[in-house]
Symmetry: C2
Subunit: 281 residues, 2 copies
């Protein structure tokens, strides 16, 4: 793997470039983004050069698609005629079934492997990129069959995933989407719902609060430009998670009504899970 | 104000003691807690000495009640015969109506003023105490009438609130409880519900997640020993907030079903509120 093309030099794409460099990658890193983003990425030393999609695809060993899902889907429809047969295309989309299916239908001249690095920050854009973003974080890969992980290009790529400090998890794309509906998309909607509920209520809410509200509304800062695609491409699993959550809140409300002391067991279950999340993160 | 007695030398009580010292308080700081906690508080230099409730109440100018709500309610039933007439009793309970009503019925020999410093940390206990905990945070006071704020003991006390870097807000106790049901108790239950929902589901949930789940489950670490009292003493407002939240989630679910693009307006409202919270915190 000598030449990497990052399509979409934002937080994730930019961080992957910086992480590769820090881990010792000495090849060429090409950025494919708007002229404005490329200028900033060059200034920050995140990429070596900017190229249009076609030229980047024609030279890269690894095509790293780090845009919003809808743009990844469009790109997958364009890339095939341009790529080198020994190249690997991978992506970082937050949902995997739609992307993997699209790739099956469009990419035939080189290998495609779906991926999802589960890292992020409150800030966005190439300015927020950092070499350690993936350190200790899961990096999910979603091959359609185990053999897809055994090609030499994938070995090379997964070696770099290890070197940038992420830990690899292999999941079926559909299973990935069902799980992240609960662990990522539900927390997003839970936060959006709190903040949307409080917006427009009387003034004191924005002054009378503690650190809890800052935490609870952090995800609510997220942009719909990214989340619209996620929700649309995982609609069914998100609905299932949302209904389970509404059912759990309704249960808590009923318990609070009938016998508040019985809330203890729910708090204890919750604290147990929260501790597990911290043990493994 | 020469002698302060901190009843309950945990995160909040301990931090108030440290904050007073840092702000230049040169009087005596007495701790009232379990022998084990007093030993740790003395080791950490948080208090000057430990005393039983009665002795502490008999000497203090300021009685600072920083225990769980149920213990504050018990103490309010005991303190009156012990206190000096020129003393001020204040508390830090997270709900105010029940406490203020109890004080009206029990405290007649000195002044009582309800308070709620809206500060906190993931950690608990005197070891987590820090002098800067209240810096830039709201400190709500809930007098029954404005004149209560004009006594010389309250002037002295509020002067120290200013010096420790908090900003004072004056609210009616019932209004305070209605507001925090939305800004504090709802975020708590939203987090508890997510974590309780995920606990017990299949294994991948505790590995396949990003920073979002860490944020979303932070409040779920909170102890029911504190929250049981809060929920019981604010049951009606908490139920109202919880029902509004369930209604908002149900609305989001319906929008997602009918026309996902219309989720944009909810995300934008939410992001607007989240930004306001950050502007004022």
């Amino acid at each position: 793997m000598n030449t990497v093309a990052i399509f979409g030099v934002g937080l994730i794409g930019g961080s992957f470039a910086l992480a590769l460099r820090k881990a010792g990658f000495t090849g060429r890193i090409i950025g494919v983004s708007s002229p404005e983003t490329i200028r900033r990425a060059l200034d920050l030393g995140v990429v070596d050069e900017g190229l249009p999609s076609r030229e980047a695809a024609q030279t890269a060993d690894l095509l790293y698609l780090a845009q919003p899902i809808s743009r990844i889907l469009e790109l997958l429809a364009e890339l095939d005629p341009w790529v080198r047969p020994e190249a690997l295309i991978t992506d970082v989309g937050s949902t995997k079934s739609t992307i993997v299916e699209r790739a099956v239908g469009t990419i035939s001249r080189c290998q495609f492997l779906g991926g999802h690095p589960m890292a992020g920050r409150e800030q966005r854009g190439v300015e927020a990129a950092e070499a350690d973003l993936f350190q200790g974080r899961p990096y999910v890969l979603t091959p359609r069959a185990p053999a897809e992980l055994e090609t030499s290009m994938v070995h090379d790529f997964t070696g770099w995933i290890d070197k940038i400090g992420a830990f690899r998890l292999v999941l079926d794309a559909a299973e990935h989407d069902r799980v992240v509906a609960y662990t990522s998309h539900l927390p997003q909607l839970a936060s959006t719902a709190i903040a949307a509920l409080l917006e427009g209520r009387a003034e004191p809410q924005t002054r009378v609060f503690g650190p809890a509200l800052v935490d609870a509304t952090r995800l609510a800062l997220s942009s719909f430009d990214i989340w619209g695609d996620i929700l649309i491409t995982n609609q069914q699993s998100v609905q299932t998670a949302l209904q389970s959550y509404i059912a759990k809140l309704t249960e808590l409300s009923r318990v609070l009504d009938l016998d508040p002391s019985r809330m203890r067991e729910h708090f204890e279950r919750a604290a147990k899970f929260a501790a597990k999340v911290r043990d493994s993160s």
